[in-house]
């Protein structure tokens, strides 16, 4: 095994991941990026998407939303608002969220006085990523 990098995924509810891995791939705002061991110091904002990492033969995918990533001294820290593994995703809830967001964006939201289009857009993105990660294609 070659060199590894320490990966840390921290959410307000605690540390989600803290282990040494071979490679991390994450969705940056200006495109996906990969991090290997001894990466140069790096700071990037993150999009809603899937963070994946490999450790030997093990490959893990985590859904992350809203945050940023800092790499320094062979350590990659991801500070995100939420992080969920595929097995932790509530498919039913994600489906409902998707339908609601779609309805709102389709025009129903305009009738509401506190309608926030960006928010609905983000909710839709989150639910789509969740469903994708949970292994359902819609």
């Amino acid at each position: 095994m070659g060199q590894q990098i320490q990966l840390e995924v921290v959410t307000p509810a605690g540390k989600k991941v803290d282990e040494d891995v071979d490679i991390v791939t994450a969705p940056g705002v200006s495109g996906d990026f990969g991090i290997l061991a001894n990466h140069a110091p790096f700071l990037s904002a993150l999009k809603i998407g899937i963070l994946s990492y490999e450790n030997g033969k093990k490959k893990e995918n985590i859904m992350i939303s809203g945050g940023f990533c800092e790499v320094s001294s062979n350590k990659a820290s991801f500070l995100v608002e939420s992080a969920e593994r595929g097995s932790e995703i509530n498919v039913e809830r994600a489906m409902k969220a998707k339908e609601r967001a779609e309805r709102l964006l389709a025009g129903e939201g305009r009738k509401m006085d506190n309608f926030n289009e960006t928010r609905a857009e983000l909710a839709l993105q989150r639910s789509l990523i969740r469903l994708k990660l949970a292994g359902k294609n819609y």
């Binding site: 307000p12 700071l43 904002a45 945050g67 800092e70 820290s77």
Partner: protein, 288 residues
Amino acid sequence: MASLKEVKLKITGVQKTSQITRAMNMVAAAKLRGAQDKMEAFRPYTTKFNETMSNLASGDSSGSFPLMEEREVKKVELVVFTSDRGLCGSFNANVVKEAWKHLKKYEAEGKEVTLLCIGKKGFQLLKNTGRVREGYKDIMGKFQMFHARDIASNVSTRFLAGEVDKVELIYGAFHSVAVQRPAVAPLLPVVPHIPEGEKAGMSGDYIYEPSIDELMVTLQPLYLNVQIYHAMLEVGASEQAARMTAMDAATTACKDIVGSLTTIYNKARQAAVTNELLDIVGGAEALK
């Protein structure tokens, strides 16, 4: 002296109260543990976040961001965090007193003050001041990030629109289970603190994606969320700790009252027995 029956009733009443206070004490203890765990879990996030923020701030940037703009302070907003429920000793009263003190101070300086109350108790205690702009209720103890986000966007929108020039948080900080003190923390304008000994340019070799300015723009709203969420967590834990102590004191007080009432009850009982004996003896004497 109160009649035997009255005293007996009173004793049962006090005993029932003490059952309630003891139960509340235990519930608060359990909830406190939960709240402390949440605080513990949140700590790595804040630490890392502040590190990155100061790292960014010490880097080269154009240095002018709307959320960091320092203007002449004419209007101040105080965000007061209290609990939603009472029966927790002087916890809420202390926070409100602190808020009141700051309000007076700013008004003495000729500034306009508005209040934003998070938590039902603070709202109730402060609404008579006529300075409360808005109140958030029933969100304490749920520890939801999106509540913090709501509050943050509420406050920052007003700051950006120039309706307020300075925002401060007032909350009950959790020092230990026995000590909770009101604390004041500045929120807006954002002043990232650069740790001592670290000079600008330390992080010059970082690769920023997108640019450092854009990163600042994304991170600053997050920074507000973090600060507000932190205050909410502290208040959540402090509230339970304060309630635990208050209920413990109440249970002890109940025990004392039951003790002194029992003495009264026994004295009354004895007096009654003596009286009856005297009657009987008197009756027997008369028959001789």
